[in-house]
């Protein structure tokens, strides 16, 4: 027994090493999120004639560690829109809970409407809301470390797809991709939907195929990706979300010819 009561119940330094108190921020100014911790990689989406297709893999990485392999990063909202999250997973969970509350508040306002679907928040409204939220958090220097894609319909019932990031920057385009997808998937998607007119000619099947093809390319070349993914199709009939898809028809033949990496000796 140590003679200092202050020491009772404490971990011993000679067993555990000195405690690193630096994270306690005992001095210096307060810090908010400075960097993402557990992260999700790309989210990709493309518009087509009657709606939008969105996909994201089911991996949450901790640095280079594939930490969680069953993480759903596409979330339906009011069964009329889909929100896809890239970036920090805990911030995504915060946003998901926030959106649940928003959806409940929204149902309060319209529970007695004759036709609630007509006046409920559509994807454009939701994107506007999220952009205000993200921008406010960046103003507070406490950003939500995500890039978010929102898919659904706007007030004139046209397919809607837009993005907002941790700084509150918003933009829209016939196809969108966050993270690695902006480099690898976006050029492929733009081949099929360079303009709104192109997108309006795409069929659902074509759009789904393009997205699946992009997910494959991303799995091949993005080290923080997974071959299990979620895919959502938003149409006027609602959201069809499947959360446990497997990448099909992978070909690793090309990998055999790549030299200079890994354990190869030649």
């Amino acid at each position: 027994m140590d003679h200092r009561p202050q020491a009772w119940g404490r971990p011993r330094d000679d067993v555990y090493g000195a405690y690193d108190a630096s994270y306690l921020q005992t001095s210096g100014p307060k810090t908010a999120t400075q960097s993402p911790v557990v992260t999700g990689t790309s989210v990709i989406a493309i518009k087509f004639r009657d709606g939008v297709v969105m996909a994201a893999d089911n991996l949450a990485s901790y640095g280079s560690l594939a930490r969680f392999t069953d993480v759903k990063r596409l979330r339906p909202f009011l069964s009329t829109s889909v929100v896809g999250f890239g970036g920090d997973v805990s911030d995504m969970q915060f946003l998901d809970r926030h959106l649940t509350e928003l959806a409940i508040d929204e149902s309060y306002e319209h529970e007695h409407s004759e036709n609630p679907a007509k006046s409920q928040l559509n994807a454009a409204n939701l994107h506007k809301y999220l952009s205000k939220l993200m921008y406010r958090r960046r103003n507070d220097f406490d950003p939500l470390w995500n890039q978010i894609l929102v898919a659904g319909f706007d007030s004139s019932s046209k397919p809607f797809l837009a993005s907002v990031d941790l700084r509150g920057t918003t933009f829209t385009s016939p196809s969108l991709a966050s993270g690695f997808g902006a480099m690898l998937a976006q050029p492929i998607m733009r081949r099929y939907a360079a303009t709104e007119e192109d997108a309006a000619r795409l069929s659902r099947e074509e759009a789904v195929n393009v997205v699946k093809e992009c997910m494959k390319v991303l799995f091949y070349r993005d080290a923080r990706s997974l071959d299990r993914y979620s895919i959502a199709v938003v149409t006027k009939d609602g959201v069809e979300l499947s959360e446990d898809e497997q990448l099909e028809k992978q070909s690793w033949a090309f990998a055999e010819r790549i030299r200079g990496y890994g354990t190869q000796t030649v």
Binding site: D70, V71, K72, D96, T100, D105, Y108
Partner: protein, 297 residues
């Protein structure tokens, strides 16, 4: 009301020498002037109903709803001062949201009743406020599934530590009624407002609190609720009224665990039956009277 004029009834939170808070009792009077509200807890859910007196022909029919949803699985109906009821619901919704913020899961019916009971009670404690002029009935269906955590991203382990326990049951239908004093009880069937006496008498005839639990199904309860409101209305026949009804079933029932308005077709059917039952009753009475007269002859 023997103590009117003695001065103990002029401010809230004042005890009279015999230990009463008159302002709370007067608030109950405001409730007793309001349209009748009832709630029925049955086998597979809860039904709420309210009698809305049509005060003006110019009101838009069926546009002004009185039963409100709190979170997704709870319904609140009230009798008394309607603006106070709106305030009550705003607060109930805030409580439900605060619960979710803290516990990441929907609030249970019992917990909401407790929170709101506390809130109402606080309005009997100070001279600077007045009690609520309402009695509220809270009905809800607490999820029978393993409660999900808001924002969870995966499904978690299916068994073992942190996993699911086989055979464990959760939730079910619940019904509470809160009075202006903040007092609340759980009920099998609850009634308040102008026609509460008649309504209570009818509720007691239903098999709600038997040892094997209520045998009444939701659909039957809807029809009973409509009938009871019609019976309770009897006394103020001169004024027209609208019947508003909502229900909450379990995840396998018609509302899938949500608090919703009773579908129009079912409500109209229930109203038709209620009117028919009433007419039959009246006929019986007339026959009774005739019978008596004959006897006297």
């Amino acid at each position: 009301m023997t103590s009117i004029g003695t001065g103990y009834d002029l401010a809230n939170s004042i005890f009279s020498p015999d230990g009463r808070n008159f302002q709370v009792e007067y608030a109950v009077k405001a409730v007793e002037n309001g349209g009748t509200s009832i709630g029925i807890r049955c086998k597979d859910g809860v039904v709420l109903a309210v009698e809305k007196i049509v005060t003006s022909k110019l009101l838009k029919p069926n546009a002004n709803k009185r039963i409100a949803t709190v979170d997704r699985h709870l319904g609140v109906v009230y009798s008394g001062m309607i603006p106070d009821g709106r305030h009550f619901i705003d607060r109930a919704r805030d409580e439900a949201r605060a619960w979710r913020d803290t516990f990441k899961t929907p609030i249970s019916t019992a917990d909401l009743a407790s929170r709101m009971g506390g809130y109402m009670q606080a309005y009997t404690l100070y001279q600077s406020v007045r009690p609520f002029g309402i009695t509220a009935i809270i009905g809800g269906f607490d999820s029978t599934d393993e409660p999900r955590v808001d924002g969870e991203v995966g499904t978690g382990p299916s068994c073992g530590a942190g996993g699911k326990v086989a055979g464990k049951t959760h939730g079910g239908p619940f019904l509470y009624m809160i009075e202006p004093s903040g007092l609340y009880w759980g009920y099998y069937g609850a009634a308040t407002g102008k026609g509460r006496q008649a309504a209570k008498a009818e509720l007691e005839k239903l098999d709600l609190g038997g040892p094997g639990g209520p045998s009444l199904t939701l659909e039957e309860a809807v029809k009973e609720a409509a009938r009871i409101i019609y019976v309770a209305h009897d006394d103020s026949k001169d004024k027209e009224f609208e019947l508003e009804m909502t229900w909450i079933s379990g995840p396998d029932g018609p509302t899938k665990g949500l608090h919703q308005e009773v579908p129009k077709a079912l409500r109209e059917e229930a109203e038709r039956l209620a009117k028919k039952a009433q007419e039959d009753d009246e006929d019986d009475e007339e026959e009774d009277v005739e019978g008596k007269e004959k006897m006297e002859e």
